[in-house]
């Protein structure tokens, strides 16, 4: 990656009624990248996408498209392709008419010839693998097919950026997975700069070149999926990217101790005193009592996709932690166990 900047979001602020949804938000989008805006609901990600599209306007800040200030540019002139969560296909138009809409809406002098539009619709139908569907109506299609048509419709106007608002949010799990892979393929083939909004971390991590993690209207971190997973900058990012176990710990001389026992986790220089240690379920291991950092009793366990997840009630704390182990022996409820921390992240308390 590392292309030039396609879109620059500069110090954007937006308030709805009295609730602030974006605070002084800045972000660069590189040309040709597939960027995920990841965040919980209410984090401002959809508002950001709509401001980039020109469907909403910021109170402060600027949107810059390829060097030109587009903040005041009306939506029609921004040349963005927007794909809505619920498709927003035109119900009374056939698939071909839907895809051709943007081309037909142009002024006569800029409108391609009929034959040219027809050819372009045909090419796009091939691209989304729905060649025989030109004369169907949206009501005759499945959710996944509708979303592919919506994408073709957005691509038809050759947008400089493709914006997708929770594009797979209304689809069931299997279709979602297929469409993810398919979208990645389309992106690899077209090289279209694409921003998509999601609250599903798996989707963001699997699909994107870079992930921007949002929380409460602020940008927490932006980086490749590997970067944000290996070096999360805050507990918020860490917690949002997957299940975590939170443990009171003590940092001293670059080492982190839990209940007086050293862990392999390394503390950043300068981080001294009481800290919070966060570990993923697979960074815990069952251990003999004299090696364990945590003690508790098994509450329940269940199996999923070849792994076993065990809930353990921590001794004295009244907290439950989830441990992931290979699917071998099933642990009975009530069994006393010790847990050893194999890795994790520490942040100031």
């Amino acid at each position: 990656m590392g292309g030039s900047t396609a879109i620059r979001v500069e110090a954007l602020s937006k308030t709805f009624d009295t609730a602030a949804v974006l605070h002084d938000f800045s972000l660069d989008v590189r040309a040709g990248e597939l960027l995920a805006l990841l965040g919980p609901s209410g984090s401002g990600k959809t508002t950001l996408l709509r401001i980039i599209a020109g469907l909403d306007f910021p109170d402060r800040g600027r949107i810059i498209f390829g060097g030109d200030d587009a903040t005041q540019l009306p939506v029609q002139q921004r040349a963005v392709g927007f794909v809505f969560q619920h498709y927003a296909l035109f119900k009374h138009m056939s698939v071909a008419e839907n895809i051709a809409y943007g081309l037909n809406a142009r002024r006569r002098s800029e409108r391609p010839a009929k034959a040219e539009i027809k050819a372009r619709v045909g090419d796009l139908l091939d691209l989304i693998k729905l060649s025989g569907f030109a004369d169907r109506y949206p009501s005759q299609l499945s959710g996944g097919q509708r979303q592919r048509i919506a994408l073709a419709r957005a691509l038809a106007v050759e947008p400089r950026v493709l914006l997708l608002d929770e594009p797979f949010g209304a689809l069931d799990a299997q279709v979602r997975k297929d469409l993810r892979r398919w979208l990645r393929e389309i992106h690899d083939r077209t090289g279209q700069t694409t921003i998509f909004v999601t609250h599903d971390q798996d989707e963001a991590l699997e699909l994107s070149d870079r992930v921007a993690v949002l929380d409460k209207g602020r940008l927490e971190q932006v980086g490749t999926p590997d970067e944000v997973q290996e070096n999360p900058v805050s507990a918020t990012v860490l917690k949002f990217l997957g299940d975590t176990i939170e443990v009171e710990a003590l940092a001293r001389d670059g080492q982190v101790f839990v209940q007086g026992r050293a862990t392999p986790v390394v503390a950043r220089p300068g981080l001294v005193g009481p800290v919070k240690l966060y570990a993923r379920p697979w960074q815990l291991q069952f251990a003999e009592a004299h090696e364990a950092h945590l003690h508790g009793t098994v509450r329940s366990s269940y199996r999923t996709q070849g792994r076993q997840r065990i809930e353990v009630d921590r001794e004295g704390e009244g907290k439950t932690v989830v441990v992931e182990a290979s699917d071998t022996a099933r642990l009975a409820a009530g069994l006393p166990v010790g847990l050893r921390i194999l890795g994790g992240y520490v942040f100031a308390d």
Binding site: G81, H86, F90, Y101, A105, V157
Partner: protein, 301 residues
């Protein structure tokens, strides 16, 4: 295959077992059902069918020639013409106003929105006679701005403009009321999609919004038209009943009836009844064919 078919349970079911209950649990016994249906039909016959039949029986009481004679006189002609004029102005006006109001209410947030919705409903809750009186008080010879207008030779009350105004007032809510819930349900995503694809606001309205509301619009225009042509109370107050000049069809019926000219009165009335029947048929066809596109959620009329 055939051996399987023979083994399938079916006609050989033991007769001692009770037959499976096929009726819905919310239904009533036979007697109650028939009683309710009979009451409903009897009521309909007495209050709707009988009067309708009477209208046509009375209209044709003295034969075809007398029936047709009711329409050949000049006053009848002018009444028909005035009714058509009033409807031809009021309906398009309400069409434009209704779409604009529904658009504003369904697609935008603004202060005073609830007040606007309440005001649109006002003509439904006000007696038509009061609606007519309002115009007399404003535009009449002793009214607020009536004298000023009369000085400048502008006659509103007891003239065609008054009749048109009164008609517009009473038919005000039809289109807006029908379209507001429909447009609210449809939301703004399709329009937004059209705008991001480069369509101008007007192009998006013409190619996306209008096709989405077309059947609901046609339906409401139909009802609006029926009311515009049939309105009596408000129009009666502002008309002044000047024969040949300010008489609409319903007013003409009243005058003929008061003159004991029953055949002519019912002949003209049959015209209005015919309009009602045509409206009813088109309305039913629209409801049957496009119910989902007419009203939000379920049928409302």
């Amino acid at each position: 295959m055939s051996s399987l078919a023979v083994r399938a349970p079916g006609p050989s079911r033991p007769t001692s077992q009770p037959a499976p209950r096929t009726a819905s649990v919310v239904t009533e016994g036979g007697f109650v059902r028939w009683l309710l249906i009979a009451v409903a039909i009897g009521f309909l016959a007495l209050f709707l069918v009988l009067p309708l039949v009477t209208v046509f029986v009375q209209a044709f009481a003295k034969g075809w020639a007398a029936y047709l004679a009711a329409f050949t006189e000049a006053d009848a002609h002018s009444a028909i013409r005035l009714t058509l004029i009033a409807a031809a102005i009021a309906v398009p006006f309400n069409l434009v106003f209704g779409v604009a109001a529904a658009w504003a209410i369904a697609k935008f947030e603004f202060k005073g929105k609830n007040l606007l919705v309440t005001l649109i409903d006002l003509p439904f809750s006000v007696s038509p006679v009061v609606s007519g009186l309002i115009y007399v008080l404003v535009f009449g010879a002793q009214g607020l701005i009536g004298p000023w207008l009369i000085e400048r030779d502008v006659q509103i009350i007891f003239a065609i403009p008054g009749i048109v105004l009164a008609t517009i007032f009473v038919t005000f809510p039809f289109v807006a009321r029908q379209l507001i819930p429909l447009m609210q349900e449809q939301g703004t995503a399709e329009e937004e999609a059209a705008l991001t694809l480069g369509a101008s606001g007007w192009h998006a309205f013409r190619t996306v919004t209008l096709p989405n509301i077309r059947w609901g619009l046609l339906y409401s225009v139909l009802l609006c038209n029926a009311r515009a042509m049939g309105e009596f109370g408000a129009v009666s107050v502002v008309s002044g009943h000047i024969r040949g000049l300010t008489n609409t069809l319903p007013l003409h019926v009243e005058i003929l009836y008061n003159e004991y000219n029953f055949v002519a009165a019912f002949a003209v009335a049959s015209l209005l009844a015919g309009l009602a029947l045509v409206t009813l048929v088109i309305k039913s066809v629209l409801e049957w064919r496009y119910s989902a596109d007419i009203a939000a959620g379920a049928r409302r009329h």
